[in-house]
Symmetry: C2
DNA sequence: AAGATCACTTGCATTATGCAAGCTAGTGAC
DNA sequence: GTCACTAGCTTGCATAATGCAAGTGATCTT
């Protein structure tokens, strides 16, 4: 049978999920972002079976999100630390955190983002870096980028509803 | 055996993943955010097996992220549209998109976020809504929120490295 | 020398996922 | 009216993926 891979899709979301879309992977990255590094720290934190954890860690290392480093030779011990790409996953984690707090925390948020120095709670929001404008739905949308090939241009690798109009070239009208 | 659920964890990231963490779920939400609504649109877009798609749609409806609506009676036809909670998932999608573009698009981004009117590309960035300051790692971190219970306070539901100091009460020093 | 710890691996059971096919309720063409 | 066709699924069966329990090897502690 074999599980279908997202890796050959053009969409960057699909490519991201190819690396972190499996059960446990994101929680492992969360714990790594919290500072956990050792095998049994992850195991105790997550309550995950050791064979699964070993598989996930291996996959995350191969995906370039974690680095396996020997920190002791006399007892051979390795630790797993975030690579720059893995550390850069933090915005996704925090977006997930904020979304979970908004919708699935009826008793109030149990985890929040705070200013490290003052302890004041922060409220995550996506903006455009240059203009600073909030990235909200009707005003912004996704569209084909420069590296979209002609085959998928104007539909993000999505075989959407058929459209007879030919795409102009630069940016096709995309949904959203 | 039974797959382990994240639903009973306190961490909002785990709760979010309980709803969208399965294979295909996030890509279905992506397509729904692009405007797809019908069963066979999703199927054609994703190349997903129909039984799996049916199961995922059902789960997303039960999770409150999609709403199933009848739009035709004479041929009985339903459509799936995003609920407010599902639509609010967009920041996570765009954070994933930006992360994928930064790290897994060697040939350049094939999908980007643009201003709907001008078509100018936007660069997603997380900030604190009130102060407007960028939410970056050393300056901000995650910490226990008001609804964290004593058992997990100071560790986000994470059984981290043992610490002998008692937690003060309000905000425990957490990793990150 | 007898545990204890860390970081796993191996065996085997249970789910989840996938493909192909079928099925139901209609619609349009003749 | 019946034949083909579409949309939106369901059913059967094969193949991964996930989980639990137990075991292994290297080292450290007592």
């Amino acid at each position: 049978m074999r599980r279908k891979s997202f890796g050959n899709m053009q969409c960057p979301i699909a490519r991201s999920l190819e690396r972190v879309g499996e059960w446990w992977s994101i929680l492992i990255l969360r714990d790594a972002a919290l500072g956990l590094t050792r095998f049994d720290q992850f195991q105790e934190s997550l309550g995950i079976a050791p064979n699964i954890l070993a598989r996930r860690l291996k996959a995350l290392v191969e995906a370039g999100l974690l680095e396996r480093r020997r920190y002791s030779d006399k007892p051979p011990r390795d630790e797993y630390v975030l690579t720059p790409a893995g550390s850069d996953f933090r915005p996704v984690l925090w977006a997930l955190l904020a979304w979970g707090n908004r919708h699935f925390a009826p008793e109030g948020p149990s985890v929040v983002i705070v200013d490290s120095k003052t302890g004041v709670e922060a409220e995550p929001m996506l903006v455009d870096r240059r203009s600073g404008r909030p990235l909200v739905a009707p005003h912004f949308r996704s569209a084909s980028g420069p590296a979209a090939d002609a085959r998928t241009r104007g539909r993000h690798g999505v075989v959407a509803a058929k459209r007879s109009d030919a795409e102009p070239a630069a940016q096709g009208r995309d949904g959203d």
